[in-house]
Subunit: 326 residues, 2 copies
């Protein structure tokens, strides 16, 4: 797959180009205009076959997801996404795979107003590295290190569903179309393969959340980063943790809790909000129909404790997400 | 190799941090201040083991080169480099490899005033994807598409030496330390493994070169891109092509010409300069001790022709660079 095949394909598929792209694909580098009075927010994430996704994952979904996981990082900063670059490593020339992949990638890019401004195709084991770029007014980035004791812990988006979807696919031997797939399984697999970056939530949290992170490695692991960065502890309320209907229909209560606390690939946002702003933030999120749950609060100390309704401390079976092995 | 081991290592190794890095490594994304009145220039390049480098390449050199090839793209735009992100995919946890790699990467980064602002480590076949960021005043980027008939073709940097180094290593079975390595071989291997991005040349060419590209796939291939983008043809002068002493000591005349015309990994700049500016540009480049050669001129038409001193047309044996197979 030569670089120029991909370029031709993207030119054919891409839609509207942002006016702040002064020079896009096809030169040694892109030239971009950062709007006056804005700062640049940027991140990179790599997905490797067999580590971050099952090899049987449809190419369209993979294109979508490889951009979505990066937009999720921008969402966690409160940034508005603007551009992306794509470095695609492929075992061999597969035009149909690349076309489907690019259609998934560009579907999300166009919906979110992101222009693909450059990239690179190379030969090797299937891996996708995306660089995403966004904009934010000075001083408004949501950082990991601002949580204070007394702040409430909010989750925007679903927990455990993507990991539930992975469990369904693995139980199923990874086959794409099983005759007896239940609608709940479809929903969970969709959560895994076409995650929705919580960009609208990130924008609403700007200037109000004291800390924010995207949940990619499981709630306990990522909330743990907020605790460490802010030098503060977290108290989770067992009964307040969101457990979706779909998860409860397919897994027993203990499994559901494992998935919610330690499943990966959620791409929900976990943030902390000062008491005084909580109601306003919740109202605004509800007004945008963003699924939101208060799941605990920050306290002085270290680490994470999980409290049951009777006041007892609950000990989770798993603490963090490990990439699956094939 | 967990992400946080790498972070700790980088914190230990990194030197001065630029003041325009508002939030560096360790959050969901970096926050960067683009200086007022400047545009952002950005590119991404991936190196895959066995495709872009021999598996026996020393880790230090690999770190250097993975940044250098990206800075070369910025040089070809006339941009001043500012930041980088690193996505490193490794087969397994190899702390010594990572330390050496990071030392090479950061040696070049610090010399060029580049701050590493983020990245990602994943498990998989060895591959390195670097995103580089630079700054340029509006309207001054050196593009591929501006060459005009009559412009002279300049090369800044060496041609064919890196490909000569690769040929030496391959003839040598890829062993790192052969007892009878000649000094010329050492120089060529150094050109291959520790390329020097032509950043100073790029800055001097700003506003004066009508088109510019970095020579990574061989002179004929990359000059061909300038021709296509500018809808113009090139006439190369056979006797004017630079043939280094080292190349001539190790290869016969025909081999040297193959390497100079079609060898890869040069990371020289190939640019076109209007007649009226040529002497001033040459003087400025010479003043900075940048090796420069006028190798031909642009003419109306299509494609590239190579003229011998007797006025005959020379037909090259190879036209472009193909990634080596292992």
């Amino acid at each position: 797959m030569a670089e120029f095949d991909l370029l031709a394909l993207i030119r054919e598929l891409r839609g509207h180009q942002r006016s702040d792209v002064l020079l896009g694909m096809g030169d040694d580098a892109a030239v971009l205009r950062v709007a006056e009075g804005m700062d640049l927010v940027t991140c990179v994430d790599t997905l490797v076959a067999g580590v971050h996704f099952l090899p049987a994952t449809p190419a369209w979904d993979l294109g979508w997801k490889s951009l979505a996981v990066n937009l999720s990082d921008l969402a966690a900063m409160g940034a508005c996404p603007s551009w992306a670059q794509l470095a695609l490593t492929l075992p061999n020339s597969e035009p149909i795979f690349v076309r489907d992949f690019m259609q998934g990638f560009l579907a999300l890019a166009q919906r979110e107003g992101v222009t693909l401004v450059g990239g690179d195709t190379t030969c090797g084991g299937l891996a996708i590295s995306v660089t995403a770029y966004g904009l934010i007014p000075p001083g408004q980035a949501l950082r990991r290190d601002g949580a204070q004791p007394g702040d409430h812990i909010l989750v925007c988006g679903a927990l455990g569903e993507a990991a539930g979807g992975l469990a369904c696919l693995q139980a199923d031997g990874g086959s794409k179309e099983s005759p007896e797939v239940k609608p709940q399984q479809k929903r969970l697999v969709q959560r895994l393969q076409r995650p929705e970056p919580m960009l609208a939530a990130g924008l609403l949290l700007r200037g109000r959340a004291s800390a924010c992170i995207d949940v990619s490695d499981g709630l306990l692991s990522d909330l743990g980063h907020l605790c460490t960065a802010g030098d503060v502890a977290a108290e989770l309320w067992l009964d307040a943790l969101p457990r979706s209907e779909e998860l409860c229909a397919l897994f027993n209560a203990e499994e559901v809790l494992d998935l919610v606390l330690a499943g990966g690939d959620d791409y929900a946002l976990c943030c902390t909000v000062p008491e005084a702003l909580l109601v306003a933030v919740q109202d605004d999120l509800a007004g945008r129909e963003i699924e939101t749950q208060v799941i605990g609060r920050m306290v002085a100390g270290r680490g994470i404790s999980i409290l049951g309704s009777a006041g007892h401390t609950f000990q989770p079976r798993r603490c963090g997400y490990e990439h699956f092995k094939t």
